[in-house]
Point group: C2
Chain length 139, copies 2
């Protein structure tokens, strides 16, 4: 394995009523609740330009995931054959980065309310990006 390492710094934290990884929805559009994103004071300036109604991509660090898993049953369904984790959205993967597309509901300084986030309470946030047409267009 390549010996390089890169260090991620949390820029904020998810505050959610979801507290149990086992009962959290697999995806945001599968009944996930609204949640708060609480940003670190040091990065507030980087939020400038984000507005209520925007669709953004939140990247999180799934700190309760396993990193030594390369194959899983898709969606935890034992009746389905195992697949490589890169062909699934399993949280268990060499670098457990979560990718969540959400809509911004409201912004109050460093407290940002979002719709339908499946990440559990306490999950560290590592990046926020706007959704671009190249992410969503059929090619």
């Amino acid at each position: 394995m390549n010996q390089s390492r890169f260090e991620l710094t949390p820029i904020g934290t998810v505050r959610s009523d979801l507290t149990d990884p086992a009962s959290a929805p697999n995806q945001g559009d599968e009944g996930a609740p609204d949640a708060w994103l609480i940003f670190e004071p040091a990065v507030l300036e980087a939020l400038d330009g984000i507005r209520a109604g925007d669709e953004v991509i939140i990247l999180t660090w799934l700190d309760r995931a396993r990193r030594d898993v390369l194959r899983v049953h898709p969606r935890g369904d034992q009746s389905r054959a195992q697949q490589g984790v890169f062909s699934t959205r399993s949280p268990h993967r060499p670098n457990p980065i979560g990718l969540h597309r959400v809509e911004i509901v409201s912004i109050d300084g460093g407290r940002v309310r979002v719709r339908n986030l499946e990440a559990i309470d306490g999950t560290p946030i590592v990046d926020v990006k706007p959704v671009l047409s190249g992410d969503v267009d059929e090619r």
Copy 2:
């Protein structure tokens, strides 16, 4: 700033004819070339289930980006007002993770050919995820 740190391990490397960050396209659909993803032998099993024709999201570590930038002129255009980096796709941001949606052209063991990747030669790859309907549907 929160003092936690998380460690990313590269799972592979981009091989591309793009070598100059300054002249690379801003996005894959803006004239970016096809490129190779060369995966580490230790993670090959995690690719199982990915096939030519699939659309996937590649996450990279933009190792030549600056991490101390919170505001930028969008697309480097000095005539546009500065915005917070979280409302742009600037590579310069606290955690310089690149997000690239690409189509798989072919797979040869750990060498994967993809279309239209704007990441430059040598960029470390940190994750691969399938595109899901929740990423692309209008909500």
